[in-house]
């Protein structure tokens, strides 16, 4: 590390500490401003390493500025309501789950009614009972779509939390990672159809496993 680089690192740290003492916290715009100031300080230095460092610092400052704008835009309200864009997306997905649940309930009502009526008609109506069964089986879809959407909602919720915290960079809130002590690594939810194991795959694996002793 060049002498200039070492001095700049120390200078940056001192600036950050001083700002934090003055303001109580340092935000991402402050970091960008410090970097701009450092780039300006390096302006008069001609060494190759220092020119490189100057350029890298300018790029970092520009990137931080852009990243800050993007982060704020993600959390912004452009929907004309009281929700952020991410919260609005979550609400819409929740509405999809609710609507599919209600529709599936109506399909099941009708299928069960068909089976009950056909059941009274005896042998000739057996194909109708069987068709009603296939309708009921097909309603599995609501469980799977509901689980997939629930997974997406969790990701959106996590993303929104992280973005808001990024926007308050350098604040001293403690991380609130998963604190319930549970291991959720086995809870992946329904896989995508191309990656899904069939019942035959599961049966082959299951029958080959030793039971618990």
């Amino acid at each position: 590390m060049s002498n200039t680089q070492a001095k700049l690192g120390t200078a940056m740290l001192k600036s950050l500490i001083s700002l934090r003492e003055q303001k109580g916290a340092v935000n991402i715009e402050d970091v960008g401003a410090i970097l701009e100031s450092m780039a300006h300080t390096l302006h008069t230095s001609d060494g190759e390493a220092d020119r490189f460092l100057r350029e890298e610092i300018r790029k970092m400052a520009a990137y931080i500025g852009e990243a800050n704008k993007e982060i704020l835009a993600l959390g912004a309200n452009t929907q004309g309501n009281n929700s952020s864009n991410l919260a609005d997306a979550s609400e819409r997905l929740g509405a999809v789950v609710k609507a599919t649940e209600e529709a599936t309930g109506r399909i099941l009502d009708a299928a069960e009614e068909i089976q009950t009526l056909a059941g009274k008609m005896g042998e000739p109506a057996k194909p109708i009972v069987a068709a009603g069964m296939r309708i009921i089986e097909a309603c599995n879809f609501q469980d799977l779509t509901g689980q997939r959407i629930a997974k997406v909602l969790k990701v959106l919720d996590h993303l929104e939390t992280r973005i808001l915290r990024l926007a308050e960079l350098f604040r001293t809130e403690a991380a609130n990672a998963n604190g319930d002590g549970k291991d959720n690594s086995l809870l992946s939810g329904p896989p995508l159809p191309d990656n899904a194991a069939t019942q035959a795959d599961i049966d082959a694996l299951f029958s080959g496993l030793q039971p618990k002793k």
Binding site: E101, M133, L144, P191, L205, L209
Partner: protein, 128 residues
């Protein structure tokens, strides 16, 4: 020995649609004595009140998962021998391994049909 169609069955799933589907399929197979629970905790409470001859449970539920429920059932002297079938969208090999090690009687992956349910019931109860 003939399978007792009056067997008490407990079905556990946090999706009401799935509870309806399983209950309907069981009814079609001749099993009418079916109770429902919407998560593992509720299932445990129901098991304190009634002895069940079969438990059919989802895995992915909160706060008590199907795996938690299975472990509870296998750890209780009164319920450790009750057949327990997991019906779940969790289909990775490690899930099957963990469930088997925890003592699951059989494993059905969603989506499933009546034929599969019948086959798995027969594997734990006997042919009917």
């Amino acid at each position: 020995m003939a399978v007792d169609k009056n067997l008490s069955i407990l079905i556990v799933d946090d999706y009401k649609t799935m509870l309806r589907i399983v209950k309907n399929l069981l009814k079609q197979l001749g099993f009418d004595n079916v109770d429902e629970a919407t998560d593992g905790g509720m299932a445990i409470e129901k098991m304190k009140e009634k002895a069940y001859g079969l438990i059919i449970s989802d895995w992915n539920m909160e706060p008590v998962t199907g795996l938690d429920l299975l472990k509870h059932v296998r750890s209780d002297e009164k319920t450790k021998s009750v057949p327990f079938i997991m019906v779940t969208a969790e289909s990775k090999p490690e899930n099957v391994v963990v469930a088997k090690q925890a003592g699951v009687s059989n494993y059905i992956v969603k989506p499933f049909n009546a034929e599969t349910l019948k086959a798995k019931l027969e594997s734990v109860l006997g042919a009917f």
